[in-house]
């Protein structure tokens, strides 16, 4: 799978003060951007003052989405069309075999060339969008749902449960994501759904920590205190204030994470553990085609290009979302 982390790319926010507060128990948190407070709460807290008079904080705000964002959105639009309605773009069925025309280079009839069975690579790439995207998004959904439940459970369930959940995530995070995914696939067997669950399970602990950290921050917030002072029951405060306010950063992180989830998904496919042949998943196509790259270069270039372009686009859009989100809520914190 990916040798890369199922961890936020450029995770935000480890200001030095934050790291200091975190101390050594939460190494992974730095990676997930989850913030948690350990140790005693300083009894006398005041609102932050730093940045009080700081023109440097004023950054030139781009007026319009940059060219990059526009291009990225276009790429995503094309991928979305391919995923929803591949017939619109594809030239023929993705599994239409034509051994006579096997391994032809790109030409007019086959813009991306043909594979070893004479299937049209372009049509397969188009049809593969749905699988690849489903795999990526699906695993993110699994991770978000599982991670959120786990994280909220830790916060809501009291000290013992919190400790248990956190140690379990410690253990799970000590597994390289790939290892975890492989184990899950071993238990469940290969296939699209299982690969989704595997990747989701591998990144769920990170989400759990993020949610937990966020929920802890929210739980200490002024409005939760205000609700308690109003005499609202604990659980209702949790449902009304803590849960909804813990989720937005998770969703933003999920967007950024989708890119790496897609890579993880196609890497699993590359290892033959994802969607099954003849499904034209991009990673699987590359895996099947790599022995023939020197005979039909399109086979080695285009599926990889498709993954890369999609992930670049998602990362560009995701980063922009994240920046906007952070600019709105956390800018100036500390």
């Amino acid at each position: 799978m990916t040798d890369r982390l199922p961890v936020p790319i450029g995770s935000r926010g480890e200001g030095p003060a934050m790291t200091a507060a975190k101390s050594e128990t939460a190494v992974q948190d730095a990676a997930t951007g989850a913030r948690e407070r350990t140790g005693a709460v300083s009894p006398d807290r005041r609102a932050p003052s730093r940045g009080g008079t700081r023109p440097a904080a004023r950054r030139a705000v781009p007026r319009l989405p940059g060219a990059g964002t526009v291009i990225a959105s276009l790429v995503l639009a094309v991928v979305a069309v391919a995923a929803v309605w591949p017939e619109l773009l594809a030239l023929r069925a993705p599994d239409q075999v034509d051994p006579v025309h096997a391994l032809q280079g790109p030409d007019g009839a086959h813009p991306f060339g043909t594979d070893q069975l004479g299937r049209d690579v372009f049509s397969r790439v188009v049809h593969g969008a749905r699988l690849t995207i489903t795999l990526g998004l699906g695993s993110v959904v699994v991770a978000v749902v599982a991670g959120t439940l786990l994280g909220l459970l830790a916060v809501a369930g009291g000290r013992v449960l919190d400790e248990v959940v956190m140690r379990v995530t410690d253990v799970l995070m000590a597994f390289p994501g790939l290892l975890l995914a492989l184990l899950v696939v071993a238990v469940l067997g290969p296939g699209t759904t299982n690969a989704m669950i595997a990747i989701g399970a591998a990144s769920a602990p990170g989400f759990a920590r993020l949610v937990r950290g966020q929920a802890l921050v929210v739980r200490e917030s002024g409005y939760v205190q205000a609700a308690v002072v109003l005499g609202l029951p604990r659980f209702s405060v949790f449902l009304r204030h803590v849960v909804p306010n813990s989720l937005p950063p998770v969703l933003v992180f999920a967007t950024v994470h989708t890119g790496s989830a897609i890579i993880a998904g196609s890497s699993l496919s590359f290892l033959g553990l994802g969607p099954q042949a003849p499904a034209p998943e991009w990673g699987a196509m590359l895996s099947e085609g790599r022995d023939y790259v020197d005979l039909s270069w399109g086979l080695g270039v285009f599926p990889g290009l498709a993954v890369t372009a999609t992930v670049v686009a998602i990362n560009v859009v995701g980063t922009r979302l994240r920046r906007r989100f952070e600019g709105r809520t956390t800018h100036g914190e500390h």
């Binding site: 990916t2 790319i9 790939l178 590359l286």
Partner: protein, 313 residues
């Protein structure tokens, strides 16, 4: 302002590490137990064996005992450092793992060093600097982050090995065989490292202390090297520890593409052939490595950030 006792700190961290190792081993054990199919039959394949012979092997391997007993025995052996014997390869797991470790560690360290050097250069040269270099570096980061490692590997292999014949096509213990896999792996990491480092550096460059430093006449390069870099190192160290830990068993794809031996592939094979001792062995080793790296990362934090050396409020 009390200084935390380093001994106590270390003891705590090591305890956590042991917990993680045992937890991982248990997880691996359970995963293999949960996997459908009779492990003894899987082990024997469909080789003709009489029922008695099968039962005998089942007994030899202890599969006729209750799950809990097996788990107990498994833990017992683990405590004594005995990782068991591979069902498939009939070789002690320890020697199997140590045999693979070198190749994996070489690749991981080479790739990591390259990636780290690349990230440092990229980030230090561009953080908080002019727009164009930052954009170019940012795009490079984005591209390497977004391109799947297997694709990079296939492309590099095709171009540099098959076409240009600059490097051997099939791994190798020599330096030349290490170049392509290490570069591929490094490329798949450098973007993330450099992005994290640059973002952290740029964040610290917006801090008041950076303004103070500028106001006393410090130049941009000095600002980056003397101030921002240190701040950038904190998330970088975290990420590096994570990456390095994951590399120990996580380089399966690279190992597959480049036909390199390594723990990752041993593990992948062992999982499919349900070679429980090998699976747990590799998991334990990689979890232990991971846990130790985590301790090292924490220790590094304390070197980088003086605030962590104390536990005064």
């Amino acid at each position: 302002m009390t200084t935390a006792s380093p001994v106590r700190w270390l003891a705590r961290r090591l305890l956590l590490a042991v917990l993680v190792v045992f937890g991982s081993a248990t997880a691996a054990f359970l995963a293999m137990e949960l996997t459908p199919g009779d492990p003894v039959r899987t082990l024997l394949g469909t080789t003709p064996q009489t029922a008695e012979a099968t039962e005998r092997i089942r007994h030899d391997l202890g599969f006729d005992r209750p799950l809990l007993v097996r788990y107990g025995l498994f833990l017992g052996r683990l405590v004594t450092g005995d990782l068991g014997t591979s069902y498939q390869l009939q070789e002690p797991v320890r020697s199997l793992v140590t045999g693979q470790l070198w190749s994996t560690v070489t690749l991981a360290l080479a790739a990591f060093t390259l990636a780290l050097a690349g990230a440092l250069v990229l980030a230090v040269l561009t953080a908080g600097g002019r727009r164009l270099p930052r954009r170019i570096a940012g795009f490079f980061d984005l591209l390497t982050i977004s391109a799947p490692a297997f694709w990079i590997g296939v492309l590099l292999l095709t171009v540099f090995s098959f076409r240009l014949r600059l490097f051997p096509a099939a791994g190798g213990t020599g330096l030349s065989g290490l170049v392509l896999p290490a570069v591929t792996l490094a490329l798949s990491m450098v973007g993330t490292l450099s992005q994290v480092l640059r973002e952290a550096m740029e964040r610290s460059l917006e801090e008041p202390f950076a303004l103070s430093a500028k106001a006393r006449g410090t130049g941009l390069l000095g600002l980056r090297l003397r101030h921002a870099l240190r701040h950038g190192l904190i998330p970088l160290v975290t990420l590096s520890g994570w990456t390095l830990g994951a590399l120990l068993s996580g380089a399966v794809v690279i190992e597959t593409v480049f036909s390199r031996p390594g723990l990752g592939r041993v593990l992948a094979t062992a999982i499919t052939s349900r070679d429980l001792p090998v699976v747990t062995g590799v998991v334990v080793v990689s979890a232990a490595a991971f846990a130790l790296i985590t301790v090292a990362v924490d220790a590094l934090y304390r070197i980088i950030d003086p605030r962590l050396r104390e536990v005064g409020t």
